[in-house]
């Protein structure tokens, strides 16, 4: 017995789909055009959002307004803050007590930065930071929930990406420390830093022979001084005061966190301009290419549509069929593009953020859905819009002419 395979009933959707399937090369090219747009816009906007969230989170919780570093080291500090690239630099410590008295300064806290040697297999250099727990207002906001007792000299607080848990032992320069607490994820360099008391840090430096020269007076040095300024005072004015009084004596440089963050925002702004311009170009490009491809096949399609017309298809049925066809291209392009961008982002977001040197927080599921929907809708428009001229002119001629032209 001859068994016929099941044949799906004929519908407008099926006609449109069969037409696309019949020309796989053309269909694939058109889908790739729409996919370029959806992937670039979705990937680009999610990445921008991640960076934006990361920087905003940092700006919100970084309590310091002014950071003082030795002259020429402001880049090193920024890099250490943003991506935790370890570095070591020194500043005379007594400056902290002196500037405390300046009007408008509400808090001053010193930190000592030590770049560790790589501690064992599969770890890179870490940033060790000594901090004053009594005056600190920079580190604490990130770990308040996690640390109640005073830190002992043989204890450390580790950033969220350090591979050690509370209670673990961790060794730096042959000194063993107990992990007392772990910080929240900051998206910044703090994630890969290890915090210890100032005493522990000095001790480490002395015994590990990290400082050449004035080893005996090692306690007279810190790496940077973090300053918080009263809301009523301009950080800029404070910086000017410190400059006048101490710049020559101490050889200082300043990082204004507001300026630093607004510089990052400026960079992020131009980044997003590039992303959106690129997406806009892809959008237009897709429309132009699809328009051209459809226009160039008008005559061929007229013949095909003429057959359907002669068989009794009404114009509205044909218009619907042709629009569904271009709609399918858009839908497939949008879905594949968004999935592709999602996979690339999920796989490489950390790599991207690290190589950009900026803090990153992964976008929440809901905002990803929102972006996805917007991109989806914008992609949906592409093919129907680009093909509308052709669709109308293909179906405009009556069946007789279409038939005649086919002869």
């Amino acid at each position: 017995m001859h068994i016929m395979p099941q044949i799906k009933p004929i519908t407008i959707y099926r006609l449109a789909w069969r037409n696309l399937a019949q020309k796989p090369f053309r269909t694939t090219c058109l889908i790739i055009m729409t996919l370029l747009f959806s992937a670039s816009l979705f990937g680009g906007s999610i990445l921008t959002k991640n960076l934006n969230d990361g920087i905003a989170g940092m700006a919100n919780r970084l309590g310091a307004d002014i950071l003082i570093v030795p002259y020429g080291y402001e880049k090193e500090l920024e890099v250490a803050l943003l991506r935790g690239e370890p570095s070591t630099f020194y500043l005379k410590a007594d400056l902290a007590q002196k500037i405390e008295k300046i009007k408008g300064i509400t808090a001053v806290s010193s930190q000592l930065f030590i770049a560790s040697l790589s501690a064992g297999c599969c770890t890179s250099k870490l940033q060790l930071i000594g901090f004053e727990q009594s005056t600190d207002f920079v580190i604490s906001p990130w770990m308040k929930q996690q640390l109640t007792a005073r830190l002992h000299d043989n204890e450390v607080v580790v950033g969220s990406k350090i591979l050690a848990d509370v209670g673990d032992e961790i060794t730096f320069f042959n000194h063993r420390f107990r992990v007392a607490a772990k910080m929240d994820s900051t998206g910044m360099g703090f994630d890969t830093s290890v915090f210890m008391t100032m005493d522990a840090a000095y001790n480490l430096m002395k015994t590990a022979d990290l400082l050449s020269g004035d080893v005996d007076h090692i306690r007279n040095y810190v790496s940077s001084i973090f300053i918080r300024v009263d809301h009523d005072y301009q950080p800029k004015a404070i910086v000017n005061q410190i400059m006048q009084k101490y710049a020559v004596e101490y050889n200082l440089d300043f990082v204004m966190t507001k300026v630093m963050i607004s510089d990052i925002y400026k960079w992020l702004n131009s980044f997003s301009v590039i992303v959106y311009t690129l997406a806009a170009i892809f959008w237009l490009l897709a429309i132009v290419v699809i328009f051209i491809v459809y226009s160039s096949t008008i005559n061929e399609r007229k013949r095909e549509v003429g057959i359907l017309r002669i068989l009794g298809a009404s114009r509205s049925m044909l218009v619907k069929m042709l629009f569904i066809e271009s709609f399918i291209i858009s839908v497939i392009g949008a879905i594949i593009g968004i999935i592709f961008a999602t996979i690339v982002l999920c796989a490489f977001s950390m790599l991207i953020c690290q190589s950009l040197g900026l803090p990153c927080i992964n976008a929440s599921f809901s905002s990803a859905i929102t972006y996805g929907l917007i991109v989806f809708i914008l992609t949906l428009i592409i093919a129907p819009l680009a093909s509308s001229y052709s669709v109308l002119s293909i179906t405009r001629t009556d069946s007789y002419q279409a038939y005649r032209e086919g002869e």
Binding site: M4, P9, I10, R18, I307, L311, R315, S399, Y403
Partner: protein
Amino acid sequence: MNILEVNNVSKNYGSLYALADINMTVGDGKWLSIMGPSGSGKSTLMNIIGCMDKPTSGSVILDGQDITQLSLTDLTVIRRDKIGLIFQQFHLVPYLTALENVMLAQYYHSMVDEKEALNALERVGLHARAKHLPRQLSGGEQQRVCIARALINYPKLILADEPTGNLDEANESLVMNLLHQLHQEGSSIIVVTHSPEVAKHAETTVVLEHGKIAQIIDNLK
């Protein structure tokens, strides 16, 4: 009862006459050939009868209805309900299988019935080729699919434009045999052709020359 009455039909493109004052009738169940050299106006006449064009003057009564007064949209409806068209160029939808091509005519007409469509293909001897695309079929097979498609909706009139124009002799006789079968079952058939051999199959042959009826031949005599 006549299936078709053509009364004083003229068609001109500007000052050029394609058809001048044509009168003819086709009785129900009759087979008529319209014969003439190219440029004689037979294609124009075919298009007017097939509801794909309108005459400049005169009237065409198809199955009791004057189709010259109808809009193009209404003509589409008449065409799919009453006429089965067979073309020289086959005019199959390239991306649909033979079966789907037949079902497509059902789809635009009323309802898709796969079994009936398969029966129609069986009638033209193409049951085994139902799943093939037009490009996988020979010319004769394609034309037989067209015939299956033309008769699927039980048309009042089968209108064939050079149905054997692109076929070899063997396929030509196959196709003509099919038309004979349909005729014996009572279908009215109009075949437009330039070939006297093909025209001879009909009961009556109308010979067109320069847009006018030059001769009416009764093939039964």
